[in-house]
Symmetry: C2
């Protein structure tokens, strides 16, 4: 019998209890022995829940119980989730989690502590909800040098951008509707300003390159300034605007950034719509593979937490090999200003300015409507494109990087 404790009985925590109960027989067949949820830590009581008798309010009961060998942390937020995770690992308990904030902020330390204590720290559910991505990167693609990862990593913003694209609606209107429908939170900042995606791309960069970047220091541009006109223009040009978490290596340094990008209809993630996530991995041997599915939600995320739990439990007591990260040194991090890509530029300029503008910038797919002169540039760094736009002299309405 393996005794599991769940930390947090919110959406993902209750989903995980549901998965472990509903699919008990297939899970126990894979684990090779009975599995019991011994404790569920939450501040609240749940008198009507079938798990009411496992609810505890004191973390010490769990960490001090030698019978509990595996803990699933699904509390969200950095504290006390990080502190409880640390205490469990030090007490020789493996921890699996869906908490991207803790993994992105404290992953290096927690993985080290896990290793020192001969236990595992797994976090498949922290990126892409139910989509397998962490384990495939770690195992299936382990013979590869990853060259780049580009991902639609946030379902809320993808839902908003998909509706803007389909309906020509404004960001503000769709956001309001998304909040009404429960696809966006009352305070949507972490989603729409890109921090949620920044945490996830930090985790993916660390998986790909072995080095963790501080998610709060990653260039992070959200979608609040994307307009209906931008969305329509992109569509006419054969692109869709998506919020993309992107990481690659430039001259040995790691670049990670989150920003709206124009995604061509020939890119496999162009078709990743609504609340779905899609993660495209480029690597030297395999070429390009994509992982697609529900990036959030109660049961999809719980599916990933339970998958990690099964992995740990099936390998008890030998343990699962966790990844090893180090924190990136400042000179190992690329300056996003030096990152080179094409840019969609929209200037407040008349059609007659074409010759004048083209003296400074390549004008691919030039497009003109009512005072908006739009085109896609050649490959330029941030500094270069800004300098050239300044040289041209017409006011900038929009600039969006092309993926």
């Amino acid at each position: 019998m393996i005794h599991v404790a769940l930390l947090g009985f919110g959406v993902v925590g209750s989903g995980t209890a549901e998965v472990l109960t509903q699919n008990k027989s297939i899970i126990e067949r894979k684990v090779g022995q009975p599995v019991s949820i011994k404790y569920i830590l939450d501040l609240r009581d749940f008198p009507d829940s079938p798990f009411a008798d496992r609810i505890v309010h004191d973390f010490n009961i769990i960490v001090n119980d030698p019978e509990v060998s595996v803990v699933a942390e699904m509390m969200g937020g950095s504290h006390p989730a990080y502190d409880f995770t640390l205490a469990c690992l030090k007490a020789g308990k493996s921890v699996v989690t869906s908490n991207k904030e803790v993994v992105a902020n404290f992953g290096t330390e927690l993985l080290t502590i896990a290793k020192e204590n001969g236990v595992s720290y797994l976090f498949e559910a922290s990126v892409g909800g139910g989509i397998p991505i962490i384990r495939p990167l770690r195992e299936d693609l382990s013979s590869n040098n990853v060259t780049a990862i580009s991902g639609i990593l946030n379902g809320t913003t993808n839902y908003i951008l998909t509706r803007m694209d389909n309906e020509g609606a404004s960001f503000a209107d769709v956001l309001k509707d998304a909040q009404r429908l429960g696809y966006a939170e009352a305070n949507p900042a972490a989603d729409v300003e890109g921090l949620d995606a920044a945490r996830k791309i930090a985790i993916l960069a660390a998986m790909a390159f072995g080095k963790r970047l501080n998610p709060n220091e990653i260039l992070c541009e959200g979608i609040t300034s994307v307009t209906a006109a931008d969305s329509e223009l992109a569509k006419e040009m054969g692109y869709a605007i998506k919020l993309i978490g992107y990481t690659t290596r430039m001259n040995g340094r790691i670049l990670a950034m989150v920003s709206p990008r124009l995604v061509s209809r020939y890119n496999p993630i162009h078709g990743v719509n609504d609340v779905n996530n899609g993660i495209l991995v480029n690597a030297d041997m395999v070429g390009q593979v994509m992982f697609y599915g529900p990036g959030a939600g109660k049961l999809p995320t719980a599916s990933a937490v339970a998958g990690d739990l099964i992995d740990v439990m099936a390998h008890t007591p030998a343990g699962v090999i966790s990844p090893v990260w180090v924190d990136a040194e400042p000179d190992q991090i690329a300056d996003p200003e030096t990152y080179v890509c094409r840019h969609l530029v929209v200037l407040d300029a008349p059609k007659s300015a074409e010759a004048e503008i083209s003296a400074h910038l390549d004008l691919n797919a030039p497009h003109f409507t009512e005072g908006r002169f739009s085109f896609i540039t050649e490959e330029l760094s941030e500094a270069e494109v800004k300098a050239k736009i300044a040289e041209v002299g017409y006011p900038l309405i929009t600039r969006i990087r092309v993926l």
Copy 2:
């Protein structure tokens, strides 16, 4: 130091040697010790290869060398690949393979022998080339009951169908071109008649449901009778014709089949084009996830073989837990005649026959061009749709299942 032997130095074998050499440092970091290719078994000599000194022609040298703990079988065909695999497992060596024919035909026995001998038998490369699918099914999605898998599993046929769709070209013309370009073999039967896809869906069904179906007994319809007119019609209706390997459970029995299917543009695998593969997994907890990428090719397939090698080597001597299959009993296999889906039906009938035909069959999206009366039926079993078409009395030109 871990000593590896490669069986077969063809496309995948030489690719695997290349991956192990080119990415030696990242692989050895993950394995935790040096890795050496000690032998490469092939009938031919390769005097100009950097591996010329490892080539051996006698399998006994490998199986009798206690230093060799891991073997990668990439010979293709059932014999002697199966026999060599069996001998290696019995000799206490783990085996990884890209050989779908051996896995689909002999997987149950080989997995049992591996278990009895405390070694592993892994086959990520046998389905979907470089795409992670076997390990995600086994580990990431292990808390789920899989409900269905639908996959574009053969790159050659997908290339042909994509070009037919794009260009309105005939099957015969595109096949000829594909052969010229090296995308189809001189004898394309195993691809275009669906047997390759049948082996892969047999492996996926066994991974999903734990029971192996004989790939030679799976309903297998290829793409040789798909016409340019069918392809164009499907496109006009908002679908693409794809060769789909499909497996599900019906009343506790396992259904597996390969056939051309109409795939709606709202299905994530609609956009899987050219030689790419895409595998859609439906499962009770996660919902729907898709895996996409290069389904064949030297380095992509070698990437998967090498991933399995690393997994085995990193877990030496504890071993990797291999899946467990049993062979399906006849009463555990569903009769494809009872499988219910919608069908695209094209009859040789005039437009004026609409009322007459609709007395027998629902006519969704009816479409008429020059003696071809086309429509999509309600959900019907094979027997039902055949009976109704017979009742209608007009000659059948085409019938294609809708996914």
